[in-house]
């Protein structure tokens, strides 16, 4: 019984790994994945000719989410980071019954056997993976302005396994039969207890899952503000519409990164150093409009797994996203182009409106983050050939690989994306 109480706490600790306002989740991914978007690495620096339509299909996957940069910037496995050791100190801290049990075990022999009691480490092994497919339709309004509409379809899978490791319960089996409470403690299956604690609190049990849904529809505008022979200044604006899944406060595995109404503005300056080589410094910020969400409000810092009746509708004000990047483009030939990019950014801490159910500020803790990302992109284009002899279908095929190489309070993202853009 007493272990269950502790597990409430332990399971609640997972919330500390959630970030960016998604309280009480096992992980949260800032999933901005549309083309023309500053955070999508194949940074577009061209607009379509006027009246030209360009359908594009993007297919990508993000993995590496099982690793996370901690608040000190160390990259750890989520499994290790989220695991917790149930030693005597931990047990005694949170429950008087456990304290009593340890004190009792300390009476056996001269070795303070209670102090050495260890139920082991509970590891929550997760392997989240996101695949997406996004049909995009762009249209050149004028020679310097293109707009686009994207419908991202997300396929999210997560394999989860709860393991209890490194316990010394086996040694303490010799004490079996002495007290029902001790027997119960020795029989503790941390995985089951965790699941049971979640169910009791009205959460969905932690189980592997796979689902597919429509993400937030995005509207994009690309406008060349200044254009010279060797340089261009672009403004990219992305508006996300809240069409994706709403915030789910009962599902600790939910991504909870959708259903946002946001605007991102990016300024990119393209400087052709030579015919083959260009550099693209860029700056961006993203603003998410305050939204009302239904979340569980903890009563205090120790209330890490709030009850079902703690749900309340609060206004979430997501902190601003800032980043700055530099892309280097190298045209190997008329068809092939290689691009490498580096991005550094940060997010401001979220804030929540007050709630009568508890302290909503607790949810916002550790929602600020920083990141540094790199990307490599190779593209093949038939556009030039098409313009020369009209013999080819005008299209661009590209493959991007990107990774988060440093950060704080953020999951690592290692992704690949295949993109095919047609023009007609």
């Amino acid at each position: 019984m007493f272990l269950r109480k502790i597990l409430k706490f332990i399971t609640g600790l997972k919330s500390t790994f959630c970030s960016q306002g998604s309280s009480f989740c096992l992980f949260a991914v800032q999933l901005i994945l549309l083309f023309y978007n500053g955070q999508s690495f194949a940074l577009t620096t061209e607009t379509l000719p006027a009246h030209v339509y360009s359908p594009a299909f993007r297919y990508g996957q993000i993995n590496g989410l099982e690793n996370r940069y901690t608040e000190t910037g160390t990259l750890v496995r989520l499994t290790d980071y989220k695991s917790i050791e149930f030693d005597a100190d931990t047990l005694a801290k949170f429950n008087t019954k456990a304290n009593e049990l340890i004190a009792t075990l300390n009476k056996f022999g001269i070795y303070k056997a209670g102090d050495l009691f260890n139920l082991g480490t509970l590891e929550i092994e997760t392997k989240p993976e996101i695949k997406y497919f996004a049909p995009v339709l762009a249209k050149g309004i004028s020679e310097t302005w293109t707009i686009a509409l994207g419908l991202p379809v997300i396929k999210y899978s997560n394999t989860i396994r709860l393991n209890q490791k490194f316990s010394n319960i086996e040694y303490y089996n010799q004490f079996r039969g002495l007290s029902p409470e001790l027997d119960q403690a020795l029989d503790t299956d941390l995985a089951n207890e965790t699941q049971q604690a979640l169910i009791n609190k009205g959460y969905k049990p932690l189980a592997s899952q796979e689902k597919q849904f429509l993400g937030d529809i995005q509207l994009v505008s690309i406008k060349k503000i200044i254009q010279n022979i060797n340089s261009t200044l672009l403004h990219l604006m992305t508006v996300s519409l809240p069409t994706g899944p709403e915030y789910d406060s009962d599902d600790l595995l939910a991504l909870n990164s959708f259903h946002e109404f946001s605007v991102e503005n990016k300024l990119a300056y393209v400087q052709k150093v030579s015919y083959f080589f260009e550099i693209v410094p860029n700056l961006s910020f993203k603003y998410i409009f305050p939204q009302k969400i239904n979340v569980r409000i903890p009563t205090n810092k120790d209330d890490v797994l709030p009850d079902q009746n703690s749900k309340d509708e609060v206004t979430k004000t997501t902190g601003l996203f800032y980043d700055a990047g530099l892309n280097l483009g190298l045209s190997v030939s008329e068809q092939f182009k290689l691009t490498a990019g580096y991005l550094v950014g940060q997010k401001i801490k979220d804030s929540y409106s007050n709630s009568s159910k508890g302290d909503s500020n607790i949810i916002a803790e550790k929602s600020d983050s920083k990141w540094q990302k790199v990307t490599a992109d190779v593209s093949y284009s038939t556009v030039q050939n098409y313009l020369k002899n009209k013999k080819f279908i005008p299209l661009i095929l590209s493959l991007s690989i990107y990774d988060t190489i440093a950060g704080e309070n953020i999951e690592r993202r290692l992704g690949q994306e295949l993109n095919m853009t047609l023009f007609f």
Partner: protein
């Protein structure tokens, strides 16, 4: 930019990117620690020069031999048991005999023993029922035998006639008896009757008939009436035949007649005899015998009055006429007939008459013979039934007498006293030693020890100040009723003090007795006492029911088990000397704990002596170790108890109680062991002498005897509960003992930490230390085992010399 330059730039960019690839930091999770030994055994040989004693050194240090106490003998026996060393057992048995021969007091007669009282109580109802049953059967069979006799009598009645000679009558009587004997022997009557009645008939009746036959033969040889009557007198006396007054008067008259006939010499006394004969006969007989023989004589007598006849008999008739008639008429007539002839005729007639009478009497008597036999049989049966009743009433004394003979001693040496008081501790040590010594005994010596042990087990009740109350409803009830018993230190109960060590010692001994008498195990009570049948002790009365054992093993087990349970019951009682201790080191009465609904977490138990019904504040490690020893012994003794054939243990409720009790005993052992190993450990990992609950502090007194007792207790706790941590704790204590107590000069352990100069060593300490430490030896590693042997071996050899 050339193509080569392009590729170089590209390679550089990718190199930079690859170098940025983050690496994941591994976690440092590892297997957590479990309790492990904190220290290792000290290598004494490396610490000291020549640390171990030689035999010579040991002999010198232990000093001159002195008398062994019962406790020393017990230690030696226990070492012998543990090491399976016959030398130690023999030595201990030798010292035990020596002690018992001088110190055993308070002899107890068998009839006064509790055991025979118990047998009497337990058999009272059965025996009563059994005897009543026997009585009923005997009486029913007696009726059947009487019927057989009546049937035989009817055959006899058909064959017997009054005119038959005595010889013929005797033959018929013999046939009758043979017929009765045959019928009884071929019937299914009670075996004792079937044997005894024919035997008696043959012995008594046939001998009687043989005598009568002898009489008949001699009777026929006698000539005169007087001779024949004298023979009759002789045989009547010989055969112890009782005759009635009429017959006696007739017999007297017959003797007078005989004498009168013998005196016939002339007509005058012939007439006197004839007159006497006339007087003796009836009117019909006078006609028959006188008228036919001599009409004139008949007429003469017939005319005479009785007075005249009497004067003729007396020979003093005075009338002249009468004298003339006699002289002129009668005497000449007699002379004419012949005096001698008359004498012969009279003799013949009298004998004929007598023979007829004898035959007639014999006829009558033989007719009565069946009834006589019946009467004799019934008398005999009633006498036997009386004996059975008597046997029932004196059963205990009969057994006691039988035991005296069987055990070849008149009484049991009972209490041992080394001073004025009979002390429980000493008595229990004696009992334990008696038990250990049975193994080497046989014959009556073994029987005496076995009986004495059981008697002593029951007699523990004498050490209770509630003895009278406990035995109020009889011994049988006392044993059946699982009431607690508290034992005082002395038989006289002079102080109102209850000691933990007394209760513990009693429980341990009773547990050893439970092991010894357990019917599902082989043990020292398999032969000897348990083989004695009641019939072996009772010779006066034979019965199939007496073929059962007087001391069946299950009954001995019941006695020992019941007493052990009584000691255990006291632990659960309100006045218990043992109590639980909560995590704040506050005492909680076991009865309160058991009756409470919300049990606090309790992992400790301890025990304290009581004085005037008040528990002392101090608990001593030696007492706790003894209690663990006793409880473990009980737990060990009752392993497999479900296989017992004891009727008491067949009761499902009792079985459940035993099961629960054993669980509680394990818990008690564990909590006591916890108290020693967690609360009584002082600096240097040594066990303190005592803990004070009032001041919540240790006494700061560290004795060797406490260390070895604690080590032994923790090993027992490990073996009873299977909890490994006690073994580790015991090893830790043992290593600390080696480190802190081993003395270079003494070449053995010193008795206390504070001792600086030790000149001599007491062999009691060697025995006590060895006895307690043997149990840990098998758990030590090889090096420590070798060191253990070297510490003790020569001291042990010196003790056995």
């Amino acid at each position: 930019m050339t193509t080569i330059q392009k590729y170089r730039l590209l390679a550089l960019v990718f190199s930079v990117m690859l170098s940025c690839a983050p690496s994941v930091q591994d976690s440092e999770n590892k297997k957590p620690l479990t309790p492990e030994l904190q220290t290792n055994d000290v290598a004494l040989q490396q610490m000291h020069k020549n640390p171990f004693a030689t035999v010579g050194f040991a002999l010198k240090k232990m000093g001159p031999k002195k008398n062994y106490t019962q406790k020393n003998i017990q230690n030696l026996f226990e070492i012998g048991q543990l090491l399976k060393d016959q030398n130690a057992n023999e030595k201990a048995a030798f010292y035990l005999n020596q002690q018992e021969s001088v110190a055993l007091k308070n002899n107890k007669a068998f009839a006064e023993t509790y055991y025979l009282q118990l047998v009497e109580e337990q058999t009272k109802n059965t025996l009563k029922k059994s005897v009543s049953e026997v009585e009923k059967n005997i009486l029913a069979d007696t009726d059947r035998i009487e019927k057989m006799i009546s049937d035989s009598a009817e055959i006899l009645a058909d064959q017997s006639r009054p005119d038959q000679s005595l010889k013929e009558q005797l033959a018929l009587a013999e046939d009758l008896i043979s017929n009765i004997v045959d019928k009884i022997q071929s019937s299914d009557v009670f075996s004792e009757l079937k044997i005894q009645i024919p035997e008696k008939l043959n012995a008594e009746a046939k001998s009687f008939l043989a005598n009568v036959q002898s009489f008949d033969l001699e009777f026929s040889k006698m000539q005169t009436l007087t001779e024949k009557l004298n023979l009759m007198t002789e045989y009547l006396k010989k055969l112890e035949v009782q005759i009635d007054a009429d017959y006696l008067a007739a017999f007297k008259t017959g003797q007078e007649l005989g004498l009168s006939i013998d005196r016939i010499t002339d007509p005058q006394n012939t007439l006197q005899t004839l007159a006497l004969t006339w007087k003796m006969l009836t009117v019909e007989e006078r006609i028959q015998h006188f008228q036919s023989a001599n009409q004139s004589l008949y007429e003469l007598f017939n005319k005479k009055s009785d007075e005249d006849i009497q004067c003729l008999i007396d020979g003093n008739c005075t009338g002249l006429i009468s004298k003339l008639v006699l002289k002129i008429g009668v005497y000449p007539e007699i002379e004419k007939y012949g005096v001698e002839k008359i004498k012969a005729d009279l003799n013949q007639a009298a004998i004929g008459f007598l023979s007829g009478k004898i035959n007639a009497t014999a006829f009558e008597k033989i007719k009565e013979l069946p009834e006589t036999i019946k009467s004799r049989i019934r008398d005999s049966v009633e006498k036997n039934i009386g004996l059975v009743q008597d046997f029932k009433n004196k059963f205990k004394f009969n057994l006691a007498e039988g035991l005296q003979k069987k055990l070849k001693t008149e009484s049991l040496g009972f209490y041992i006293t080394s001073n004025a008081e009979v002390e429980l501790q000493e008595q229990i040590a004696l009992m334990s030693n008696d038990l250990y010594s049975i193994q080497g005994l046989d014959g009556s010596e073994k029987l005496v020890k076995q009986f004495g042990l059981i008697e002593k087990v029951i007699s523990l009740v004498d050490f209770s100040n509630q003895q009278k109350k406990l035995l109020r409803n009889g011994l049988s009830n006392y044993l059946k009723n699982p009431t607690e018993i508290f034992l005082m230190s002395t038989l006289k109960n002079t102080t109102n003090t209850l000691l933990v060590k007394d209760q513990a010692a009693a429980l341990k001994f009773l547990s050893l007795m439970v092991t010894a008498t357990a019917d599902w195990k082989s043990g020292p009570f398999d032969s000897g006492l348990t083989e004695i049948r009641a019939q072996d002790l009772i010779s006066d009365f034979k019965s199939d029911q007496l073929n059962q054992s007087v001391f069946p093993k299950t009954e001995l087990f019941n006695i020992c088990f019941a007493n052990a349970v009584k000691i255990l019951k006291q632990i659960q009682s309100e006045k218990s000397l043992v109590y639980l201790v909560n995590n704040n080191n506050e005492r909680v009465a076991i009865s309160d704990y058991l009756s409470g609904k919300n049990h606090p977490t309790v992992a400790l138990a301890a025990a304290s002596d009581q004085k005037n019904n008040r528990s002392m504040n101090v608990t001593k490690v030696a007492d706790l170790a003894l209690m663990i020893d006793a409880l473990s012994a009980f737990s060990q003794a009752t392993k497999g108890i479900e296989n017992s054939q004891s009727q008491i243990l067949k009761d499902p409720e009792i079985k459940l109680q035993i099961e629960n009790a054993n669980k509680n005993i394990e818990l008690l052992v564990l909590t006591l062991a916890n108290f020693i190993s967690s609360q009584m450990i002082g600096p240097k990992n040594l066990v303190d002498d005592a803990y004070d609950f009032e001041t919540k502090s240790l006494s700061q007194n560290y004795q060797l005897s406490n260390q070895v007792a604690a080590i032994s207790a923790l090993i027992q706790a490990y073996e009873t509960t299977g909890i490994h941590i006690y073994l580790l704790s015991a090893k830790e204590l043992y290593y600390s003992t080696n480190r802190n107590y081993f003395d270079q000069q003494l070449k053995f352990y010193k008795n206390s930490l504070s001792e600086t100069k030790t000149v001599e060593i007491n062999k009691d300490d060697v025995l006590n230390s060895l006895n307690h430490l043997i149990s840990i030896r098998k758990y030590l590693n090889l090096t420590s085992q070798v060191q253990f042997d070297r510490i003790f071996e020569n001291w042990y050899v010196a003790i056995l010399l």
